[in-house]
């Protein structure tokens, strides 16, 4: 994961796919996922408002589908 002016770029060596994060907040969220019990908690801690939560949920779901992030303990 490489920070960029617009957010960050992510590269997955297994799938050889590039993803991007289009704002700095979602970068903060992704970076802190491992330190929180839930994704919601990571979002709240990064200052995501309740109204904005669904958008972040979608973004994280997209990242999960492309295997950029995965559930803790999952293979």
């Amino acid at each position: 994961m490489r920070p960029e002016s617009f957010g960050a770029l992510l590269y997955h060596y297994g799938t050889r796919r590039l993803s991007f994060l289009k704002d700095p907040t979602v970068l903060t969220v992704v970076r802190s996922l491992a330190d929180h019990p839930t994704a919601r908690s990571a979002c709240e801690s990064a200052g995501v408002t309740a109204r904005a939560l669904p958008a972040y949920e979608r973004a994280l779901a997209t990242l999960a589908r492309s295997a950029m992030i995965r559930e803790r303990g999952a293979p």
Binding site: R2, P3, E4, S5, F6, L9, L10, Y11, Y13, G14, R16, R17, L18, S19, F20, L21, K22, D23, V26, V30, A55, Y56, R58, A59, L60, T62, L63, S66, M68
Partner: protein, 396 residues
């Protein structure tokens, strides 16, 4: 945080902290003399980066978080330290994708490569048949490439790339290429023939005809999701539907080339002083060239559409390929020589008497073994690389 890809391309126009796709040509030495070689390779340059300099450069890539490098040449595997440098890059968290004509892919090498997630291989093949391929790449090059593909497949390497430069002579073989790739568990990669390096001399006779170009576009709109193109056919988006990829010129913005002597060019197809941004041996190294060179700063400024601005296809093709224009003598703010609306043909006719800039430097062997089929010789080279090769942009 939306799924719209266009704003991303807009962001990329302004440049990135480090390249997404960096092509690094390790040597000008090559066992082949492909007629369309982008880098006019053949003979090693005495000033090529040493092993220690290469290691230092990889260290710099690691610091810049370059995800991976596209290594080419010349034929990179003929460098005695090639496998060491691959291992060194992987150990420093820099992925490697290398282009080869297959000459050094032994069963032992294939087994090692198959064991790494961080190394990918592109085998160059410019004909789905021996006759078409060898006419461009030289005698027995087809057999070498196919043997390498079979060796990788036998070692369990899945998803390596068969990389094809589309020419007038192989444009009708796209289905056959796809079948070959399937046969070896590989992925097909198609790229555009550019008038760069030795390719400049054969471009007029090797480039696909207008009819073939349309057929390639139609084929890609059907098969494009499973075929890599390194975004190299973005000029064809002017036909209508955009092809998969970012559809932009990445030169100096998301892409660049480091040549064997450390010179940094805006893209692999632009080896000429006009596109030389600096050298990695200078103060501040590669990072400084990437971040501060005047040339790259200029490329990252908003571009005007020039003569193309009023064309309804401009938003799709963005004027096409800078290198293709340059080496055919066309103005950089005008149409691509292969403009789908035909403006390129008209522009070429207008500059008909002008001698286009000659690609330089030239490391061709002085007495290369040439091959001919039909008319003049067809072209190619072991290692063409492209903006965003292998990438599929996804949103998060």
């Amino acid at each position: 945080m939306t799924a719209a890809p266009l704003p991303l391309a807009d962001q990329f126009q302004h440049g990135l902290a480090a390249p997404i796709c960096l092509t690094w040509e390790l040597t000008y030495a090559c066992n082949l003399s492909c007629v369309h070689c982008l880098s006019s390779s053949g003979r090693r340059d005495p000033g090529e980066l040493s092993t220690a300099e290469c290691e230092a450069l990889i260290d710099e890539f690691e610091r810049m978080q370059v995800f991976y490098v596209n290594i080419g040449g010349g034929e990179p595997t003929v460098r005695p330290d090639f496998w060491h440098l691959v291992d060194y890059a992987v150990a420093h968290r820099v992925g490697v994708k290398f282009s080869t004509n297959g000459i050094k892919i032994t069963p032992e090498v294939a087994r090692r490569l198959a064991g790494s997630d961080y190394v990918d291989v592109q085998i160059s093949l410019d004909g789905a048949t021996e006759q078409v391929n060898d006419a461009v790449r030289g005698t027995s090059s087809y057999r070498t490439a196919i043997r390498a593909a079979a060796t990788l497949a036998a070692a369990g390497f899945r998803g390596f790339k068969l990389s094809v430069v589309v020419t007038r002579h192989n444009a009708a073989q796209l289905d056959q290429f796809a079948e070959l790739a399937d046969q070896y568990g590989a992925q097909l990669r198609l790229t555009r023939l550019r008038p760069a390096g030795r390719g400049a001399a054969v471009w007029h006779e090797l480039r696909p005809t207008a009819g073939q170009q349309r057929a390639v576009y139609d084929w890609l709109t059907i098969h494009g999701e499973n075929v890599l193109t390194g975004d190299s056919f973005f000029h064809l988006s002017g036909y209508g539907q955009a092809l998969p990829g970012l559809n932009m010129c990445g030169a100096g913005r998301v892409v660049c080339l480091i040549d064997p002597v450390g010179d940094v060019y805006a893209c692999p197809f632009a080896i000429h002083d006009s596109f030389l941004a600096g050298n990695v041996r200078g103060d501040g190294g590669f990072a400084r060239v990437w971040r501060e060179s005047r040339l790259f700063a200029e490329l990252r400024r908003p571009q005007s559409g020039g003569a193309c601005a009023s064309c309804s296809a401009y938003d799709a093709c963005r004027g096409g390929c800078m290198a293709a224009k340059f080496f055919t003598g066309l103005p950089l703010d005008g149409p691509d020589p292969e403009c789908v609306r035909g403006h390129g043909e008209a522009a070429l006719a207008r500059v008909g008497g002008v001698t286009p800039p000659r690609p330089a430097p030239d490391h061709s062997r002085r007495n290369p073994v040439r091959v001919t089929i039909g008319r003049r010789r067809p072209p190619d080279r072991a290692c063409d690389s492209d903006p965003l090769a292998g990438f599929t942009a996804r949103t998060g």
